[in-house]
């Protein structure tokens, strides 16, 4: 079942899909900020870490 949580940046209501995983990255549909799901129970999110210089593939 989908859960909802407030964006920590813009306070918009976010739908978190039922198949969400801990430490998954999601985007706020309102402000576009990247967020990380820190916990599913209770549902907790925070801003995703800033991209660092050595990030990539």
């Amino acid at each position: 079942m989908n859960q909802t949580v407030s964006c920590v940046e813009c306070d918009a209501e976010l739908n978190v899909p039922a198949d969400a995983m801990e430490n998954e990255l999601i985007s706020c549909p309102d402000c576009g900020v990247e967020l990380e799901i820190l916990s599913l129970n209770p549902l907790t999110i925070d801003l995703a870490p800033e991209v660092e210089e050595d990030w990539g593939e």
Binding site: L25, D54, W55, G56
Partner: protein
């Protein structure tokens, strides 16, 4: 069979991989690189953040978005005799464009003309030798960061001055390539265990065609020539699971641009019709079976 995935966080790719593992009846341990706290003097029987001993893993799939963390973890695990995908050796070559160039050159694989220099004066000399337009790249880095097309000596001087001013000494290694006048696209081919499983064209009006920078993906047929150069490029860096960036020059010749060892593929399964995550999992399970 015990498998772990090392991640910085769960992106679309890792979610696809975990789903593919689940479909294969395997639940790998997900290990966050931020939780790593390893005793480098002790051996592989120490506990991983998962609670299991590192030595219990038949294979560890490295998917860190942080290149430095991924490299060090591969170095540790391989030193302990734990099989990883990819190997430290392959990752170390692929994460460094200069090392990749050397490996490809040794194997006789076609690539753009490439030079290296370490001072502003010799960098100007290297650019002049390659000719304009040239491309200046950091030897490490991804997603098209800090790539510069150098069209003339004025822009060469400006970019070199900026690079000298940047604090990190890595910016003072000048890796210079000839610019390949590609037809508004390049090719990304996915090679797993020596097989070219699929490829996409990455098209963009900008000369940087990375999908991370807005390039669009469409299916690219695997011709015998593309298959051949990709297999030889993969072998040159030690094989494994690789995404190979290929350029077509104005004569239709194929040249290897770079090779990625923790590839992103979220935009590539739909246009190619190939379930890349399932292919990765198949390869990982085969590697684990060799050990188990």
């Amino acid at each position: 069979m015990q498998i772990a995935i090392l991640v910085t966080h769960i992106r679309a790719e890792e979610k696809l991989l975990l789903t593919a593992f689940a479909e294969a009846g395997i639940e790998p341990d997900v290990i966050l690189d931020r939780d790593i706290n390893i005793d480098l003097v002790a051996g592989p029987d120490q506990q991983a953040p998962s609670g299991r001993a590192w030595s219990a893993y038949d294979v560890v799939l490295e998917r860190c978005v942080s290149t430095s963390r991924g490299l060090y973890l591969l170095a540790i695990l391989n030193r302990w005799g734990i099989r990883t995908i990819n190997s430290y050796e392959t990752a170390a070559i692929c994460s460094d464009k200069l090392q990749t160039t050397l490996a490809l050159s040794t194997a006789g694989v076609n690539q753009p003309e490439t030079r290296v220099a370490f001072t502003p004066e010799s960098a100007m000399g290297a650019i002049e030798r390659v000719g304009y337009p040239a491309v200046l790249k950091p030897t490490t880095g991804s997603w098209g960061r800090l790539l510069a097309r150098v069209n003339d000596s004025d822009s060469a001087e400006a970019i070199i001055e900026h690079r000298q001013t940047l604090g990190d000494y890595n910016h003072h290694t000048y890796y210079v390539q000839s610019y390949v006048n590609k037809p508004g696209r390049d090719i990304r081919a996915f090679v797993i265990g020596g097989r070219t499983i699929c490829a996409i064209y990455r098209s963009s009006e900008h000369w940087i065609t990375n999908t991370a920078r807005g390039g669009s993906a469409s299916n690219c047929p695997i011709t015998p020539d593309l298959d051949d150069i990709c297999q030889r490029a993969a072998a040159a860096v030690g094989g494994g699971i690789l995404a190979i960036d290929v350029l077509e020059d104005s004569n239709g010749e194929l040249l290897i641009n770079e090779i990625n060892h923790t590839m992103e593929f979220r935009n590539s399964s739909a246009p190619t019709g190939v379930d890349i995550a399932a292919e990765v999992v198949r390869y990982a399970l085969a590697q684990a079976e060799v050990v188990a």
